[in-house]
Amino acid sequence: MAPRIKLLVGGAVIVAALAWLGFVGFEESKAYYITVDEYHSLKGEIGDKTFRLAGDVVEGSIDRSKPQMEFLIASSETAIKVRYVGSDIIPDTFTDGSKALVEGTIAPDGTFQARNIQAKCASKYEAEYEQRNSS
């Protein structure tokens, strides 16, 4: 066999193996990423699958008194109750009004069981001034 062909075959085998590994990992970790508003229209499709839910933490809704922290996450119109069942530290940026991204499933009682919370706060700094500017 010419070296070019050997190389092509070798390369193709490597790429195919990696593509397969990528596909397996992809199937394992893909998850819907939706806002709270979108959830209601996609409810049937999602069922009890894991997905990521993005929204704003409702001011004053964080309840740390229970063994598992609860809070409300909302988009423009609707809110969903979230119960944090994960064991990781809650990120520093998670506060009233921060933008949060929770990952988990919907429990039969309709609360979202979050195994993972990410929060982003940087934009809030700017939003605060914008509001004041236009008041």
Partner: protein, 656 residues
């Protein structure tokens, strides 16, 4: 003052656009005079941007909160060190820093080449100025650091507004690694514009020999080095500040810095083949264009808000400009490469699979596949939203699933690649070269299995590390032996002289040693353990081989924040090894954000990583402890890698 800053930026933009047009006109009319005026405009533009940057610095130091950037990213009590860092604390100021670095690079390139490559320079200038003008335009019109705050009253009148104090620098950014991380990373993104500009100029002027590669070798290496340092610093910052116990999470912003580094690494290797054998010419052009574009793409991801990330700047409306810019660069590069393809023919064909050339080819293949996988995973949410209508994200199992095998393959190539000869390797010489590395690898593998390790990837990884390290050490030994025999030098002197005589080769080997050590550190990830506890004072908690005892909680405040501090005594085999003091800080500015400060006990074997996240009303204190094996080697390995890269950058003594 802010108006002066705007004026400086506008001045710089006009000059850079002038330099762009003048260099093109000068090139087409072959008028050196016009090109020279373009070059002077580059210098003047750099002065303008420098003044703009100094203006912003002045506003920050003077606590001028009428400027929105200052009000958003600084406050009176902020230590002066962080006030300087506040320049890049929000996207508008960081873009000014970006422009400043870009213009500085352009000025250096113009100065270095004032007497050289006169036919290529107009095109080099054109590319550099197109790049600079684009970012200056964004900086001036869409992300302006000199915007003034105004108050709009209900009757429609507008008045300037000066808050009593600023919002403060985001507390998460108040850390030394975060202060130096962005500037270093920016240089690591921006610098690739120089080799790209020379590649473009080489295409435009049909001078497609190795000149453009040789003359930009140091730029490429330096940029690659800085990007690497920037990525590692980002990881270090995430590790010690964010408090989740790890340093890499396949976040889109992390990915966007990794992608140009991966393709840049491929480029660094594949140009060697062009220099030595006159092959891979088209491929090198594509790689450098991709590296540059991925750097721009990384900026796009971070600044446009297109992909959600914890690290991204607040969403802004810059997105489409980036898309147009990248489309223009891509189309122009591809057109030129296609048009000049007859000049880019390979001078040789590949003769054997067992050759240095094919090792480089495989290195390139896996690096590019890795980059593509990262790109795919990062952009999939955006793609799926446009195609299917619903946003689907992929997580670490995807990225790890594909990148761990790729990493191991690369590690293997790091070991065997240098053992192959150019052109063709005989099986006999290969067997001889592989003898010791294979023995050490087998010993390492046996030792790990006997020691009870059962994680497949970790065993493969550590075995390969032993293989690579032996192969490289053998190379040093072989070279040193020759010198010792010929000149009677002592061993350390022989190794030093050997390295200094052939910096590219042996510096490269040192980089490879760093890579192997880093991979050894990464393999520890499979054995990370974590424990959380609601602890009362005096209570103990076991973590791996340690026992943590909460001995007390203290509280206090500094000018900048309030803190709660947990004193944790760490015992190993009953002996006190260290008292760790993780903190929980609440900052006085902004929206009273709280941050945790990690306490670390780091040894060669493992890191004990403790976070105190606060206390509940019933005097239970929440403590989280991680046991992360081998993390030290990640930082140490990257240090070795950077040292090796610096060795390859050392100037050559002029030969007489």
């Amino acid at each position: 003052m802010a108006n002066f800053g705007n004026f400086c930026l506008l001045f710089a933009l006009c000059l850079s656009v002038y330099a762009l047009l003048a260099s093109l006109v000068g090139a087409s009319q072959k008028q050196e005079r016009i090109v020279r005026s373009a070059e002077r405009a580059v210098y003047a533009s750099t002065v303008g941007i420098t003044l703009a940057l100094l203006t912003l610095l002045f506003l920050l130091l003077a606590n001028d909160f009428s400027s929105s950037h200052v009000a958003n990213s600084s406050n009176r009590a902020l230590p002066i060190f962080y006030k300087i860092a506040a320049i890049w604390g929000a996207h508008d100021g960081s873009m000014l820093l970006w422009c400043f670095f870009t213009s500085l690079l352009c000025a250096v390139v113009v100065y270095q080449n004032r007497l050289r490559y006169r036919d290529m320079m107009p095109y080099v200038l054109a590319v550099l100025m197109f790049n600079l003008s684009f970012f200056l335009f964004l900086n001036l019109f869409l992300s302006n650091p000199f915007t003034q705050l105004v108050q709009v009253f209900s009757n429609g009148s507008i008045q300037s507004f000066i808050p009593a104090d600023g919002q403060g620098l985001n507390p998460l950014l108040q850390h030394w690694a975060m202060v130096i991380h962005p500037p270093i990373l920016y240089l690591g993104f921006i610098g690739f514009v120089v080799p790209f500009a020379f590649a473009f100029a080489a295409l435009a002027t049909k001078q497609l020999g190795n000149t453009w590669i040789r003359t930009t070798r140091r730029w490429t290496l330096m940029t690659w080095l800085l990007l690497g340092i920037g990525i590692v610093l980002g990881g270090k910052w995430a590790y010690v500040v964010l408090g989740w116990g790890g340093y890499w999470a396949w976040d889109p912003v992390e990915n966007s810095s990794l992608m140009p580094w991966l393709v840049g690494t491929a480029f660094l290797h594949s140009v060697i083949v062009q220099e030595r054998r006159g092959m891979f010419k088209i491929w090198n052009m594509i790689l450098i264009a991709l590296t540059y574009l991925l750097g721009i793409f990384g900026t796009f991801i971070t600044r446009s808000g297109i992909v959600d990330s914890v690290h991204a700047f607040a969403a802004s409306n810059l997105g489409w400009f980036f898309v147009y810019f990248m489309a223009i660069v891509l189309a122009a590069s591809l057109y030129l490469i296609y048009d000049r393809r007859s000049y880019l023919r390979s001078e040789r064909r590949l003769d054997s699979v067992l050759s240095r050339e094919s090792a480089f080819l495989f290195n390139n293949l896996v690096l590019v596949v890795s980059c593509f996988a990262v790109l795919w995973g990062t952009m999939f949410p955006v793609l799926s939203e446009h195609i299917q209508g619903s946003k689907i994200t992929v997580g670490p199992p995807f990225f790890d699933g594909i990148n761990i095998p790729i990493g191991l393959l690369l590690l293997f190539l790091t070991g065997v690649g240098p053992l192959f000869a150019w052109h063709k390797t005989s099986l006999k010489s290969l067997k001889k070269a592989l003898f010791w590395p294979a023995i050490f690898a087998a010993v390492a593998c046996g030792g790990l299995l006997a020691g009870g390790m059962r994680n497949f990837y970790s065993i493969v990884c550590l075995t390969l590390c032993a293989f690579v390290l032996t192969a490289i050490i053998e190379e040093f030994f072989k070279g040193a032996k020759v010198r010792i025999r010929a000149r009677g030098e002592s061993f350390p002197l022989a190794v030093t002289n050997l390295t200094l005589k052939n910096k590219r080769r042996y510096g490269g080997y040192i980089v490879h040693v760093g890579i192997a050590l880093m991979f050894a550190g990464l393999s520890g990830n499979a054995f990370n353990r974590e424990t959380t506890g609601q602890m009362t004072i005096g209570e103990e908690m076991p973590v791996g081989e340690y026992v943590l005892k909460l001995s007390g909680i203290s509280e206090g405040e500094t000018a900048n924040y309030f803190y709660g501090r947990a004193s944790m005594e760490a015992y190993k085999n009953g002996r006190l090894v260290r008292t760790l003091e993780p903190e929980n800080r609440i900052f006085k500015t902004g929206n009273r954000q709280s941050t945790t400060t990690v306490a670390l006990h780091s040894t060669l074997k493992e890191d004990l990583y403790v976070v105190y996240s606060g206390s509940a009303a019933d005097s239970k204190h929440q403590i989280m402890a991680h046991m992360n094996p081998l993390v030290f080697w990640v930082w140490f390995g990257s240090g070795v890698m950077f040292f090796g890269a610096i060795v390859t950058l050392l100037p050559d003594r002029s030969r007489q």
